[in-house]
C-alpha cells in the first residue's frame, strides 16, 4: 500500500527511469516513515546535483511537486533539486503555473517556484505558451509576497502585445516599489500612451538575483555536460556568469575559433577583402588553395582543436603566431597545475586528461614540443608527485628538445632523480621509457638536421637556436650518464627486477645504435650496475639483449679500428675501449669459457670465500649451460639430445665439442639471436669453450 515500485531497485545503470515511474503517485500517500520515497528522493537529488535532470525528468518531478501529491514538505525539496541538464520543457512550466492558482501551495514554496523559473528562464525551450498565459501570470501581481518575483518574470516575458492586453489599473495603487517601477518602465517603453505614471529616471535596480539555491549546482552541471548543453544556453553566457573569486576552471577549454572581426577596422580595407579566415577552410585542398592569404584566428589556442589549422601552423614560420599559442597553452598549464595552489585543481583530471592528451597528439602531429610545455615541465617536475596523470606528463617530458648540458642537471635531472628514487617500480619503468623516447627524439633531430650542416644543427624547425655538434654530444652524454646512474641504483633498489631491466636495456639498445643508426659518433658503455645485473639476470631474454647490445658496440668499435684517424672526433677515449674490451672478456669468460672470478676479470672474490660457498665448480656457474637463465634450456637439451648417449644427467657433457655446437644451435632456434650475433662476432675463432672442469 505504501508504494508501488519494485523493491529490488538498485542504484546502478538505469535506476532512474524506474524512480521516475514511481513519482506520479496517487494523492495522499503518506510521507512520514515512507522509506521508499526517501530513498528515491536521495537518488534523484544525487543525479540532479551531479548530472542534472533530463527534460522529461523535470516534467515529471515538477508535476509531482506542484500537485502536492505527497504534501508540501516534499514539494520544496523537489524544487530545490530541479537542476536541468539541458532544457526545461515549456509545457511543464505552464502546468506548474496553473497549479499555483489552485491555492494549496504555501507562499514560501510559491516564491521558491517563481525563483526557480527565473533561474532557469533561459533554459526553457520556448516561451510562446508562457506568453500566452501572460495575463494569467499577471494576476499574481496582487499577491503581495509574490509580487516582486512575478514582476521579474513578467519583465522577462513582456512583449508589446502583452502590454496591450493587460489592464494596468491593478498596478497603480500598489505603490512605487522598484520592481513595479522596473516593469512599468518597460511597459512605458512599449506603450507610452498606456502608462500615465511618470517614471523617475533614476530607478534603483529593480530585480535582485534569486538564483541562490540553484546557481552553483547549475554551473557545475553545465560544466560537466560540456558540449551537450543545448543551444538554449550559449557558452558565452555561462562564462560570463563566472565568479572570478570562485574561479571556474575554464582555462582548459579551447577557445572557439573565430576570425579577427574586431580588428578589421584597423587594417587597411584594401587587404581585408582578400584574406581567408582559417575558420572557413574545411578541407586540405581548400587549405592549399588559399595558403597565401590565410588569416590566423583571433585566439591561437583554437588551433589545437583542428588538424587542418595545425597543418597550416606547421607550414608557416610565424613567430608571433607560435608565441601567441605558447602564451595561451602555457597559461592553461600553469593555471591548472601550478597556480592552483590551495584550490586543489589537480583533482579534476577529467578535464586535464583530455587536455593533455590533445596537447600530446598535437605535439606528435607537429613532431616537436612547444616551448611553453617545456618551461612548464621544468617547474612542474619540482612539485609533481609522480602519479598525477603520469602517462601524459611523461609523454610531454619525452618531447622536450635537447637541453643544453649546462642546464640539464638543474632542470631535469635533479627533480627526476627525486621522483625516481621515491616512486614505485612502475614509475621507474615509465621514466626509463620516457628517457629512452627523449633520447630517440634527440637522435632523430640530430640525424635530420646534422645532414644540413656538419657542425651546426638547428634543433627545432621553428626556432633559430643553433647548437654545435659538440654541445649536442655533451647533452646526449649527460643524458646517457644520468640514465646509467638511475638504472644502476634503480636495479639495486628493485632487486634487479626484470621489468625494469627490460626498460633499461631498451635504453641501451638506443644508445648502442647512436652511431650506426643516427650518425652520432658517440660511444657510451653501460655502467657495471647495469651490465652485471643484465649478465646475471635470471631471465634469458635480458642476457640475450645484453649480448645483442655488446654485439652492436662490437660492430661500431671494429669500424672505429679501421678509421683510426677519426678517434679524436669520436668521443672515444682509450678508457672507453678498455671498458668495452673488459666487458667482452667478462662475457666470454662467463658464458663461454667458464672462467668466472679470474683475477683479471674485475670480479674479484677471495678464493677461500668462494670455497666456503661450497658451490661446485663455481667458475662454471655462469656459463651458457649453468647460467640460471639458461639452465632450463640446458636441461631440456640434455633430455632431448644427450640422453640418447648417456643415461645419467650430466650437464657438463654438453660442453663437449659436438654437443656444444648443437646446444648453441638449439638456443638460437629458441630465438636468442642476440647471443648468436654475439658469438659470431666475438668468439668466431675459438669454437669450443675451454673446459676446465
Amino acid at each position: 500500500t505504501i508504494c508501488p515500485n519494485p523493491p529490488h531497485m538498485k542504484i546502478t545503470a538505469k535506476p532512474f527511469v524506474s524512480v521516475l515511474v514511481f513519482f506520479p503517485l496517487e494523492a495522499g500517500t503518506p510521507v512520514n516513515g515512507n522509506d521508499e520515497v526517501e530513498r528515491n528522493m536521495v537518488l534523484v537529488e544525487k543525479l540532479a546535483y551531479s548530472k542534472g535532470l533530463s527534460p522529461e525528468a523535470i516534467s515529471i518531478m515538477l508535476e509531482f511537486a506542484m500537485s502536492l501529491r505527497m504534501g508540501t514538505s516534499l514539494c520544496a525539496r523537489v524544487l530545490k533539486c530541479l537542476i536541468p541538464a539541458t532544457l526545461v520543457p515549456q509545457e511543464a512550466v505552464v502546468r506548474a503555473v496553473v497549479w499555483l492558482s489552485v491555492g494549496k501551495i504555501p507562499v514560501s514554496t510559491q516564491i521558491l517556484f517563481i525563483k526557480w523559473v527565473l533561474t532557469v528562464f533561459d533554459m526553457i525551450d520556448a516561451k510562446d505558451q508562457l506568453r500566452a498565459v501572460y495575463g494569467f501570470i499577471f494576476n499574481f501581481v496582487t499577491e503581495e509576497n509574490l509580487c516582486p518575483f512575478i514582476c521579474h518574470l513578467l519583465y522577462l516575458l513582456t512583449r508589446k502585445e502583452s502590454v496591450v492586453s493587460c489592464s494596468m489599473l491593478i498596478l497603480f495603487p500598489q505603490g512605487r516599489q522598484p520592481f513595479l517601477l522596473s516593469l512599468l518602465s518597460l511597459y512605458k517603453v512599449f506603450c507610452p500612451e498606456m502608462v500615465m505614471l511618470s517614471i523617475p529616471s533614476r530607478i534603483k535596480s529593480g530585480f535582485r538575483n534569486h538564483n541562490m539555491p540553484w546557481k552553483s549546482a547549475l554551473i557545475a552541471v553545465q560544466k560537466g555536460a560540456g558540449p551537450h548543453v543545448a543551444a538554449g544556453i550559449s557558452p558565452a553566457s555561462t562564462t560570463i556568469k563566472t565568479n572570478p573569486r570562485k574561479r571556474k576552471r575554464c582555462h582548459l577549454e579551447l577557445p572557439v575559433m573565430t576570425s579577427v572581426v574586431s580588428k578589421e577596422a584597423q587594417t587597411e580595407p584594401s587587404s581585408c577583402g582578400k584574406v581567408v579566415p582559417l575558420v572557413q577552410l574545411h578541407s586540405f585542398a581548400q587549405l592549399l588553395e588559399n595558403m597565401h592569404r590565410i588569416e590566423l584566428p583571433a585566439q591561437m589556442g583554437s588551433l589545437l582543436g583542428s588538424s587542418l589549422a595545425l597543418q597550416y601552423l606547421d607550414c608557416v614560420q610565424d613567430e608571433s603566431a607560435l608565441l601567441r599559442l605558447n602564451f595561451w597553452l602555457g597559461y592553461a598549464l600553469h593555471e591548472e597545475f601550478l597556480f592552483c595552489g590551495d584550490r586543489g585543481a589537480s583533482q579534476n583530471s577529467q578535464e586535464a586528461l583530455p587536455f593533455l592528451d590533445r596537447l600530446l597528439s598535437t605535439q606528435h602531429f607537429l613532431q616537436e614540443g612547444f616551448s611553453c610545455s617545456e618551461a612548464f615541465l621544468y617547474k612542474f617536475l619540482n612539485v609533481w608527485d609522480g602519479s598525477l596523470l603520469r602517462p601524459q606528463i611523461l609523454g610531454l617530458l619525452s618531447n622536450i628538445p635537447v637541453v643544453p648540458s649546462a642546464q640539464i642537471r638543474q632542470l631535469l635531472f635533479e627533480p627526476l632523480m627525486q621522483l625516481f628514487f621515491t616512486s614505485s617500480l612502475f614509475f621507474k619503468c615509465g621514466l626509463m621509457e620516457c628517457l629512452n623516447n627523449m633520447l630517440l627524439k634527440w637522435l632523430t633531430w640530430h640525424s635530420v638536421y646534422a645532414l644540413e650542416d656538419d657542425l651546426d644543427i638547428s634543433l627545432n624547425s621553428h626556432t633559430s637556436i643553433n647548437m654545435t655538434l659538440s654541445g649536442f654530444k655533451d647533452s646526449v652524454m649527460e643524458l646517457v650518464d644520468f640514465v646509467g646512474r638511475l638504472a644502476s641504483l634503480g636495479l639495486q633498489l628493485e632487486g634487479c627486477h626484470s621489468l625494469l631491466l627490460s626498460f633499461v636495456l631498451d635504453f641501451y639498445e638506443t644508445v648502442c645504435d647512436m652511431f650506426m643508426k643516427y650518425g652520432l659518433p658517440l660511444v657510451v658503455m653501460p655502467p657495471p650496475g647495469v651490465f652485471y645485473p643484465a649478465l646475471f639476470a635470471t631471465d634469458p631474454v635480458s642476457v640475450d639483449r645484453l649480448a645483442y647490445i655488446m654485439h652492436r658496440w662490437g660492430l661500431f668499435t671494429s669500424c672505429f679500428d679501421n678509421a683510426a684517424m677519426h678517434v679524436q672526433a669520436f668521443h672515444i677515449s682509450r678508457q672507453m675501449v678498455r671498458e668495452f674490451n673488459h666487458y667482452i672478456i667478462v662475457m666470454v669468460n662467463c658464458l663461454w669459457n667458464s672462467k668466472m672470478f679470474q683475477l683479471d676479470m674485475g670480479l674479484s672474490l677471495g678464493e677461500d670465500l668462494l670455497l666456503k660457498s661450497k658451490v661446485p665448480q663455481y667458475w662454471a656457474s655462469f656459463d651458457l649451460v649453468h647460467h640460471p637463465a639458461f639452465m632450463s634450456y640446458a636441461v631440456d637439451f640434455h633430455h632431448r639430445v644427450m640422453l640418447a648417449w648417456r643415461k645419467d644427467m650430466d650437464l657438463n657433457s654438453i660442453k663437449d665439442s659436438k654437443p656444444w655446437s648443437w646446444y648453441l644451435e638449439f638456443l638460437v632456434s629458441q630465438g636468442y639471436d642476440g647471443l648468436k650475433q654475439f658469438v659470431q662476432s666475438n668468439i668466431g675463432r675459438q669454437q669450443l669453450p675451454a673446459d676446465e672442469g
Binding site: L118, I233, S237, T258, E374
Partner: protein, 343 residues
C-alpha cells in the same frame, strides 16, 4: 629623506622558512634562474625567463607622479580597491586605437548582456558607455608601455540629459619598471601590460576580460599577492613613515588549525618601524606569539597587510591610499605579474 631613498633593502629573510612549509611551493620553485637558455628556443634572450623576485630593491622612492598624471585619473587609481590579475602580452594592441576599442567593447558588452541569463536583467534597462584612456606620466622606463584606463559608465534608459553618468566599472592595465630584458625580447607586435586591476561588478569584469582575450589573444589569471610580496609591501610602506607616519599597521595571518584560526596584529600609534627592522620585527612578532599563545606564525600564512599607505590581501585585492608611493607599489606588483607569465 635622502637616506631612505638610497638604501637598498633585502627580501625579508624569515620568509624562506615559511615558504617551504606552505602549499604554494609551486609558486616559489617555479621560477628558476636556469630556465633562460632552455627558453631561448624562440630566439629570445636568455633573460626572458630567468626571472625571480628581486632580492633587493630600492627603498620606496617618493615620486611626484601627482604632477605628471591627470588628477582625475590619479584620484580614481588611489581611492579604489583593485582586484589584481596578470595578463599575458597583448597581441596587436595599439595605443592609437583606443577610441575604436571603446566602441568595440561597448558593443561586446551589449551583446553579452543580451545573451546573459535572465537573472541579471538589471542590465537590460541600462546601456553602457565605455571609455579607454591613456594614463600619461605613469611610465618609469622607456620599455614600459603606457598604462591604459578603461571605464564603464552606465546610462539609464530614461535618464535625463543633465544626469551625470554613473561609473560602474573601472580597470587599468599597466607596466611599471617591467623587466627590460623580458620586454625587449618580445616581438614588436606584442604590447606587454602585465598588471591588470579592476573594480566593479564581476559580470562586467568577466566581460571585459573576455573581450580582451578575444581581441588581443591574451590570458587573464588571478594575481595572488604572495606571502613574500606582502612582506615586501609592508616593508616598503612602513619605510615611508617619515613622510606620512604609520598610523597603523595591521597584519592578518591564517593558521592551519582546526577550526581555522585568524591572527590579527594591529600596531597603532607612532611606533617606528625601520626597513632593517622589518625582519627582526617579524621575527620578534613570531616569537612573541609563540611565547604567549603557543602559535607558530611561520606555520601559517600572512594574508593581509594594511598600513596608512595602502592595503594588500593575499587574494589579490590591493588599495593604494597615497599616490606618492604608487609607483613603488606598482613596480613590485608588475614584477609579481611578470613572474606569472607562462613563458
Amino acid at each position: 629623506m635622502e637616506r631612505h631613498q638610497n638604501r637598498e633593502t633585502r627580501t625579508p629573510r624569515n620568509n624562506v622558512v615559511v615558504h617551504r612549509r606552505r602549499k604554494s611551493k609551486s609558486y616559489r620553485l617555479s621560477y628558476r634562474s636556469g630556465l633562460g637558455a632552455a627558453d631561448s628556443r624562440l630566439g629570445w634572450s636568455p633573460a626572458l625567463t630567468a626571472r625571480r623576485l628581486n632580492t633587493s630593491r630600492k627603498a620606496a622612492g617618493i615620486s611626484n607622479i601627482a604632477e605628471r598624471v591627470d588628477p582625475g585619473q590619479l584620484a580614481l587609481l588611489v581611492k579604489t580597491e583593485w582586484q589584481l590579475s596578470y595578463v599575458t602580452p597583448l597581441h596587436q594592441f595599439r595605443h592609437t586605437q583606443l577610441k575604436s576599442y571603446a566602441r568595440q567593447l561597448s558593443a561586446f558588452i551589449a551583446a553579452g548582456k543580451q545573451q546573459g541569463l535572465a537573472v541579471e536583467v538589471e542590465g537590460l534597462q541600462t546601456t553602457f558607455r565605455v571609455s579607454f584612456s591613456l594614463v600619461q606620466g605613469m611610465t618609469q622606463s622607456d620599455e614600459d608601455a603606457e598604462s591604459v584606463l578603461v571605464q564603464i559608465h552606465s546610462k539609464r534608459l530614461f535618464a535625463r540629459q543633465d544626469e551625470p553618468q554613473k561609473p560602474v566599472w573601472s580597470g587599468w592595465l599597466t607596466c611599471i619598471n617591467g623587466n627590460p630584458d623580458y620586454l625587449r625580447a618580445l616581438p614588436k607586435d606584442f604590447v606587454c601590460l602585465p598588471l591588470f586591476g579592476c573594480s566593479g561588478a564581476d559580470g562586467l569584469s568577466a566581460l571585459v576580460k573576455s573581450w580582451f582575450q578575444q581581441s588581443f589573444d591574451c590570458c587573464f589569471g588571478l594575481l595572488e599577492i604572495s606571502h613574500t610580496s606582502l612582506q615586501w609591501l609592508m616593508a616598503l610602506w612602513t619605510n615611508c613613515h617619515a613622510e606620512s607616519g604609520i598610523q597603523h599597521l595591521k597584519m592578518i595571518w591564517t593558521l592551519p588549525a582546526a577550526p581555522p584560526l585568524q591572527v590579527t596584529y594591529t600596531e597603532a600609534g607612532e611606533n617606528y618601524i625601520d626597513i632593517e627592522e622589518v625582519t627582526s620585527f617579524m621575527q620578534g612578532l613570531k616569537s612573541h606569539f609563540y611565547r604567549h599563545f603557543r602559535l607558530d606564525l611561520s606555520a601559517g600564512s600572512l594574508n593581509q597587510v594594511s598600513t596608512a599607505l595602502g592595503s594588500a590581501k593575499y587574494s589579490g585585492r590591493m588599495k593604494i591610499s597615497n599616490s606618492r608611493y604608487m609607483i613603488t607599489t606598482l613596480t613590485l606588483l608588475t614584477e609579481c605579474a611578470l613572474l606569472k607569465m607562462p613563458i
